[in-house]
Symmetry: C2
Subunit: 322 residues, 2 copies
DNA sequence: ACGGGTAAGTTATACGTAACACCATCGAGG
DNA sequence: CCTCGATGGTGTTACGTATAACTTACCCGT
């Protein structure tokens, strides 16, 4: 309607008419039909965010950041997958109810992304794609947004080494995602360069319970006990702390523990977790910004890397003598 | 297209033609245009979920449950508000990008709901509305889905009283939401009926830090010290545990602590929290089911109340003598 | 005074789908 | 043999918006 025109075409409609239309619209409770508008314009101002699970606070924060800048630009965000999992939806058109203008995907949900890319009903084919936490130069991605996890891991190891730790074990998430591969490589590199340092690794899932079990294995393995456990995320770290105590040891006096993420959990446990704070909402925000730029035709910088900071709290200290 | 017709009008199109259309569609990569379909049908198979913040695990789980049954029925779920907060969106049409078929709202986000109801651009006026965690019979709601929080609180107090506690303080969320009012009333009722029991109350926000401060106030107030702290959610409980220890006391030997929700956090802290498990995903799922029923014309049962269960873990024990 | 140019207003069309009405064909029964 | 019914296929229309194209009115300059 001319109301919309009135917003931009100041020269096409008189002030008086615009005012009249406005008041009439208000009176009748007129509301534009989104479906019709989308059909006419051929775009929906809606982006799809592909993440593994919102119940992981990290991804909830990614969503929050993405939704914030989306809203600021008149965009909406819908989520995939439905927590059903990745399987085909019962109704072939249900995978993404809204037509989409673009896609933002976390590398931790690549299976989901593959699923919807392969699903002709999902309608993501040929859409601008921004990858989060993903190898720069990923195929098909217009841009990537990353965290400098290698630097984060380096900060962690440097911190522990500076405290005097030498026997350090990496409680590694056994998840086939680039972000964890980076942690593994960075840990190895940091430990390799140090004289007298011993780095071990214990694979685990991504939960408190898995962290507990992996840490128990690491601490009860034959040979000298590690004095520090570097965990791939805060859930694992919380589990590791529990394992330490169940073995009758103390955190951090006997074993130091570090995490990644800085979830709410990190300050809820005691002692509070020393962890690498990941600006998750910033990842989401940058991802959405990059997508918007791509949609506007501006080429976004193809690879954005965000700095991370080690937050030193209560779970790290110098190792006991011996 | 006839493909779609073929799905339901078996008598209208021959097997041969249906097959031909199908293969042609597959070959050309045909995908129906959602916007056009929505326009034609006048519905979008999309529901709006109004919650305060996804970074609270409770609401992430509500979303998960709602999205699960939505997906199963070919529906989508979009979230409001954008984390901007509740203020008017820069673009008057951006509040909800998708046209909506219905709304599910948590009573903890009533301000947001008021905002979008009052916002003519949001387009929720006259839409079927399901309220979660809300007073049964709420105005304008086709149905409500609730947790039996009164019973949960009763279970908590009964558990503590059975252990021998008499001086029990309620660390209450000072949030103007029905769900917390219920907890307050139930706590008062449970304590009132007991001879010799003393119930106090200390208001707090909804964070670990606020729980810590409220618990510190409760424990350092003049008069006999409470032996148990009943917290309105797990974040407050985690904070309360920290307060107890900072005062040189032990959990649970000196002070027992309970929470509500059973977040991931509950089993990450030590000792693990005794808490009332709230089936958040079930709340979301029932809410969506009720909305779907309302959209189908079936009147859903107006008020659904889900049972809750006290999960006894490590933060409660009998009080020390004295 | 007349024409050209600009500002304002009006009309027409297309977007892609679903539903309905209409048409063609064929078989069976009167 | 003709008609009626059933079955399969085709054509048309409307959903509500945005915009281009067209029309009208007015002002000003020559």
């Amino acid at each position: 309607m001319s109301l919309v025109l009135g917003d931009k075409w100041r020269g096409r409609v008189s002030q008086r008419t615009a005012q009249a239309v406005r008041s009439a619209a208000a009176e009748l409770g007129y509301r534009p039909n989104l479906a019709a508008r989308n059909l006419r314009l051929g775009r929906t101002r809606t982006a799809l965010l592909v993440v593994p699970a919102l119940t992981n606070d990290y991804f909830a924060r990614v969503y929050t950041g993405a939704a914030r800048v989306a809203a600021r630009n008149g965009f909406g965000v819908v989520l995939y997958p439905s927590p059903e999992g990745v399987g085909p939806a019962p109704d072939p058109f249900s995978s993404a109810r809204a037509a989409l203008d673009g896609v933002i995907a976390s590398s931790m949900a690549v299976e989901a992304l593959d699923a919807i890319s392969g699903d002709p009903a999902a309608g993501t084919a040929g859409l601008p794609l921004v990858m989060l936490d993903s190898e720069p130069g990923a195929a098909g991605a217009a841009a990537t947004v990353n965290l400098d996890l290698a630097d984060g891991m380096r900060q962690v190891v440097d911190h522990l080494v500076a405290l005097g730790h030498r026997r350090i074990t990496h409680i590694a998430a056994a998840v086939d995602s680039w972000t964890f591969q980076v942690r593994r490589d960075a840990f190895d590199a940091a430990v390799r360069g140090l004289s007298g340092a011993v780095g071990g690794r214990e694979p685990a899932g991504l939960s408190v319970e898995q962290g507990l079990q992996a840490a128990r294995r690491a601490l009860t393995a034959p040979g000298p006990r590690p004095t520090a456990l570097v965990c791939d995320d805060d859930l694992l770290a919380a589990g590791a702390c529990k394992a330490v105590r169940r073995l009758g040891l103390r955190v951090p006096e006997d074993v130091s523990v570090t995490g990644f993420d800085d979830l709410a959990l990190a300050t809820a446990v005691e002692p509070e977790l020393t962890t690498v704070r990941l600006p998750a909402d910033e990842v989401g925000a940058r991802g959405m910004a990059a997508l918007l730029a791509a949609l506007d035709g501006h080429a976004p910088e193809p690879a954005d890397v965000l700095p991370v900071h080690l937050t030193i709290r209560g779970t790290t200290t110098a190792p006991a003598e011996g």
